[in-house]
């Protein structure tokens, strides 16, 4: 039960119920769609990147609490960051939820509970994979497979 409380922390539930930066972003110059075929989670990410900096970001989609909260937290954390910094954040989240790495900094640390639930790691990383695809300007939908 403690693992569960760790997974479904209040911050996670709050971001699930009221996702930040939700919706379409007008003027986005990088977009990508992510899809987790295991649970049907879908996310579309809109980025506005200028001079290598993510000036604005929004997302649309439907997913479980973990996927939605992760996407919402991500948008808060990468806004104003350089592309390289955003990718670095992705690496640290990945390392954290996959179990090997130390905790990510700041508010992203709430995703650490996922590491006790290996079958939910893909939920937590979907938005981040999608961000990487958007930065790489990949047109096709990425999946977590």
């Amino acid at each position: 039960m403690n693992d569960l409380r760790e997974l479904y922390q209040e911050t996670i539930l709050d971001h699930y119920r009221q996702p930040r930066n939700a919706g379409r972003l007008v003027g986005a110059n990088r977009t990508a769609e992510g899809y987790n075929p295991l649970c049907g989670d879908k996310v579309k990410l809109y980025l506005k990147v200028e001079d290598g900096v993510i000036r604005d970001v929004r997302f649309e989609g439907y997913g479980c609490a973990i996927a939605t909260a992760s996407a919402s937290l991500m948008t808060e954390c990468i806004k104003g960051k350089s592309e390289a910094e955003a990718l670095q954040l992705m690496e640290s989240v990945h390392a954290m939820v996959a179990g090997g790495g130390t905790s990510a900094e700041g508010k992203l640390a709430v995703l650490a509970g996922v590491r006790e639930f290996p079958q939910r790691v893909k939920c937590a990383t979907l938005a981040w994979h999608t961000m990487k695809a958007a930065l790489d300007n990949v047109e096709e939908a990425v999946t977590t497979q």
Partner: protein
Amino acid sequence: MKILDKLMHHDDVQAQFWRTDFPVLKSRVHGKPLVYLDNAATTQKPLAVIEAESDYYLNYNANVHRGVHALSLRATEAYEEVRVKVQHLINAVSPDEIIFVRGTTEAINLVAQSYGRSRLQAGDEIVLSEMEHHSNIVPWQILCQQTGAKLRIIPVNDLGELQMEAYADLLNEHTRLVAVTHVSNSLGTINPVKAIVALAHEHGVPVLVDGAQAIAHLPVDVRDMDCDFYAFSAHKLYGPTGVGVLYGKAALLEAMPVYQGGGDMINSVSFGETTFNVLPFKFEAGTPNIAGVIGLGAAIDYLGSIEWDELVAHDRALLAYATPLLASVSGLRIIGNARDKIGILSFVLEGMHAHDIGTLLDSEGVAIRTGHHCTMPLMQRFGVPATARASFALYNTRQEVDALVEAVYKAKEVFRP
């Protein structure tokens, strides 16, 4: 006690008795007793099945057919006896109509690639339903890509039942095959397969019935149904994984080209010409899953010790008990309310994704399935990305239904704002 209570009590006692045949049901999960409600994905195995498989490996492991030594003869006899058991289980005319395959999926692929590919051409039509499992969609899509044939889809109504008038309208001179599921794995709907077959036959169209979900829940009589092909997997029938059955009418199977080459399906080989074996071996290339087939035989024997009436009544009783209990949970919506259905309850909860429900129920020891259940077109039809699905087997009890409902309430509590 009221009569209904008495009946229910008798039913529970019976199920408790069956439970003792399944060793895994004694397990605890996260410190809680296992409540296994993922039977539509795969059923648990009775000790008799596990022992039959291990007995083969311990005492008479040998390859089947053409062996002259004692173990090979014994293995061959055991393997072929199961063919006869399957014949009787589904009331086929002859054991030659029973082809052992890896599972329902391979059975359908076999029909698509052998029957379908040799007979279909551009402009032909294959009729499927909106509630099909991906395994009864994708093999036909592949066939369509290969031949230029097209899929036509029977729609489902809001209750989750096939729209039979629409089905009748889909049949025409271009229809070459109908492939429908006997029971929906996502909704539990029992389809009127006999009527579906009769209507198709009026147009001279053969019918494949996907029996994956039906086989453990309903008595299946392929002669009465008059279907041309029937496919099912052993592992949903309390048997092992990796074994399934394709039933086909002998005349159709005879006329069909071979599917895979090698091993048992061959009569003689030279570099100039190869001749193929007779039915059923013609479709069984390579060393089969001998232990799995023997396990399937043990599963059929196990079920044979129980009256179908009793099994069906138990399934209906659990469904009748669970449906109003779940439906009374606020914000819970049951997807699939067909008038005729087996013990499958798919549901969605307002404000909660199925995946989260699954994780939270698991923490209470309750195993259900969450996701699209390999029926993405059907999920789209009902406008949901995923559902949570509880599915019953003979060993489930009303106490387990109570545990499910209690776990759902607890899950809601976690997500309460």
